[in-house]
């Protein structure tokens, strides 16, 4: 019971961190702050993965999203013009249709959220998952794994080709 309370405190603090920083990403007026707030969102999501017993996934989330994707994103954002006081508003302003569509989407999401019988089993075990993931990647899921690898390799070669200075 006591441990449960502790777990709940940890869970809710990370949930607040994730949702709060995600709100900053969406609502912040400066692009660069949105990008940096993503750091805390990714961190919170990684913590939630760890909380679910998916230790490998949590670490991979940090390595790939924070160490790779976020860095790229920041480089991209730094190359844009208006970083502060960005006024993101479209020219045409259709309040009523937008409201209707948004309300409909919200209703659908809430309906499904309430109707789905969520899996609320016992907490996941702390058993290591890395070895099992590795074995599955090398046996059952070898084809998707290799396909993804080849896709990434092609993207890498393509990027190198584009960047390369043309020699006459």
């Amino acid at each position: 019971m006591d441990n449960n309370l502790l777990a709940q405190i940890v869970f809710y603090s990370f949930a607040v961190l994730t949702v709060g920083s995600a709100a900053v990403v969406v609502f912040s007026k400066s692009l660069i702050r949105s990008a940096f707030a993503l750091l805390f969102t990714f961190f919170g999501v990684a913590a939630l993965y760890a909380f679910l017993g998916a230790d490998f996934l949590a670490a991979a989330q940090m390595v790939i999203y924070v160490g790779g994707i976020l860095v790229l994103l920041l480089f991209g954002v730094m190359l844009t013009h208006k970083l502060y006081d960005l006024n993101l508003r479209s020219e045409t302003f259709q309040f009523v249709p937008a409201l209707v569509v948004a309300a409909a989407v919200f209703a659908v999401i809430v309906t499904f959220m309430l109707r789905t019988s969520w899996h609320t089993g016992p907490p996941a075990s702390d058993a290591p998952t890395t070895a099992a993931i590795g074995e599955l990647l090398m046996t059952d899921y070898i084809l998707p794994f290799e396909a993804a690898s080849i896709l990434l390799l092609v993207a890498m070669i393509g990027a190198a080709m584009i960047v390369r200075r043309r020699s006459e």
Partner: protein, 352 residues
């Protein structure tokens, strides 16, 4: 951590604390202990760096403060940094400017949680320990970009960009070089990796499958030098071109956080190298020949210090690489070499 929990159990009234909080206390205490030890080690390393650099360049270095070879110079510097005015540039992004040192610092110190200093002196034995070190290491990269950007200074931004490009490039060969140890052990837990090296120097991974894992160690060491921005890879803070790189605009305690993080990172990569390749806390000879008379953590720290000394030695003997040379080394030399090593070690592990 278990030993700390037992020690705490001796305190009067400890058992009357509710279970919920009692589970937390050893964790917090051991984190504080590790933090204090690393802060002390960093203070010592700063002094050592100045003395080593002085002796390599045939001068004395700090000699007066504290008496014996200026041992208290770093303490005096720390007090000075605490008292200095905290300047935030007028046109800086104030919030990011203030947060950045803490993010860098967090990335440097959080990784020490999984470092096994002795057979039972570690905070947590995560089964993804090595991945965790890399995961929290990526926090530092973001913090450095944040500092470079928020300072609103072209030198800071250059330094931050260079640091980010360099760290993410060199993370790849160092992560792959680590595979040369992970494959034979079959675990990412640092404790298990050290346990697999027990029984004398011949079992250390640096001497496993010669010369495969030894080359892995060399690649890891070179890449880790670049990851912590040490010479010959210190172009992010090349003072002849960039003033001081990403922390140009920082002063006082905020600067001290970057400084602490830099030295903590040196200790971190040296600790990882020690645990992976140099046997961690294990003794040089089999226990049956000469019993271990030095405590494990002391032995571990000695090995780490030796590696830190090599880092300093290289810093003061080698010139700085150019940016293109840096990228050439990472992508065209270290990466293919480490991939070949992984293939080699994998082959040897499976078929031998």
């Amino acid at each position: 951590m278990q030993s700390i929990a037992e020690l705490l159990g001796l305190l009067p009234g400890y058992s009357s604390i509710p279970e919920t909080y009692r589970a937390l206390i050893p964790v917090v205490v051991s984190c504080v202990v590790i933090f204090a030890c690393m802060a002390l080690a960093v203070l010592f390393a700063v002094w050592l760096e100045r003395k080593v650099s002085a002796h390599i360049q045939d001068r004395l270095g700090p000699m007066y403060v504290g008496g014996w070879h200026g041992w208290a110079q770093t303490l005096a510097d720390a007090v000075k940094l605490l008292l200095k005015e905290d300047i935030v540039p007028a046109s800086a992004d104030k919030l990011l400017f203030k947060v950045a040192p803490f993010v860098v610092f967090l990335g440097a110190f959080a990784a020490f949680v999984v470092i096994p200093f002795g057979a039972s002196s570690f905070v947590a034995d995560l089964n993804i320990g090595l991945l965790y070190v890399f995961a929290v290491g990526s926090l530092s990269v973001i913090g450095i970009i944040m500092a470079g950007w928020a300072s609103n200074n072209k030198y800071s931004l250059y330094g931050g960009m260079r640091a980010a490009a360099q760290i993410i490039s060199y993370e790849i060969p160092s992560a792959i070089a680590i595979m040369t140890v992970v494959i034979p052990v079959g675990s990412l837990s640092l404790v298990e990796i050290v346990n697999a090296q027990q029984g004398g120097i011949q079992n250390w991974f640096i001497f496993r499958y010669p010369p495969l894992v030894f080359l892995g160690f060399i690649i890891y060491f070179i890449a880790s030098l670049a990851e912590v921005n040490r010479t010959p890879f210190d172009i992010p803070e090349a003072e002849s071109e960039l003033v001081a790189g990403y922390h140009t605009e920082y002063s006082g305690m905020r600067f001290a956080f970057f400084f602490l993080a830099e030295y903590a990172n040196m200790f971190l990569v040296a600790s990882v190298a020690t645990a992976l390749f140099l046997g961690g806390w294990t003794w040089f000879v089999p226990e049956s020949v000469v019993p271990q008379f030095i405590p494990g953590p002391v032995l571990f720290f000695g090995k780490v210090l030796a590696l830190v000394f090599v880092q300093m030695w290289l810093r003061w003997s080698l010139p700085r690489l150019r940016v293109d040379q840096l990228m050439y080394l990472s992508w065209k030399v270290l990466l293919p070499a480490s991939l070949a090593l992984v293939l080699g070690v994998g082959w040897v592990t499976v078929y031998w």
